[in-house]
Amino acid sequence: MRILGTCKIAESGVFVNGLARQFEVNEDWKKDLYASLNIEYPKFYKMDALAKMAFLGVELLESSCNFDDYSENEIALIFANRYSSYDTDQRFIESYTEKGSPGPSLFVYTLPNILTGELAIRKKWYGENIFFINEKFDAQFFIDQINFYFRKGSKACLCGWVDSANNQEECFLFLVENSIDEISIEELIKSYKQ
């Protein structure tokens, strides 16, 4: 397998393939980044933080990776995080404890794997998709999962560690293609920690 591209968004900045983009990750960074990308996709405004981050990460990754090389069911989506949908869960609880009624538009985001659904709808990717809850970013775990989906016939895997809790947001995406090359755990960890 080989890594075709990476995208990292964290407090330290926005990086595509390790190169910093001129962009400040402030409180409104998701809204500002969306505006800077000149995308017309009103559904973006409805998404929760996790889905927005994954959405923006894919748009950035697309500037260096050609997803069109794969048919609609050849890309597997493998995502993970630590805090699941914690932030949205809290907001959903507030909607019925403080605002009087449970909010349906919040409820739909009280599962983290909704973000894979949002990506599938946006990009028309109908391959395998899965979302794991792990204690921390685990490179070996991702490599094992990627190999599993390659064995099942996927040609590429879009992987992501997308997390949001306690005012900490983090988005790391990488696209991996099936090839005879091997990627090392160290290489993946280095990309994640950039």
Binding site: K46, S105, L106
Partner: protein
């Protein structure tokens, strides 16, 4: 009526958690569903809650929703008529 429309826009943003939008981003006559704001059937439920909580209006026939929730204009007209 224009005050009601502005209030409605603020309530839509609050109720639907569209915190990245401002009332100025919502046009009175623009469709709220489909293209427009990209809302869907889940959001229609939010509109039903919004009308009930803020205007004490209950929509007994859900099939009416399609027409009522078409735009801020149509929502405001419905509220004016039923209050």
């Amino acid at each position: 009526m224009s005050d009601l429309k502005e209030t409605l826009k603020e309530q839509i943003i609050e109720q639907l958690n569209l915190e990245d939008l401002t009332p100025a981003d919502i046009q009175n006559e623009a469709p709220l569903f489909g293209e427009g704001l990209g809302l869907d059937s889940i959001d229609a439920l939010e509109f039903i809650v919004l009308l009930e909580q803020n205007y004490n209006i209950k929509i007994s026939d859900p099939s009416e929703g399609k027409e009522i929730f078409q735009s801020v204009d149509s929502l405001a007209a419905y509220i004016e008529k039923h209050q």
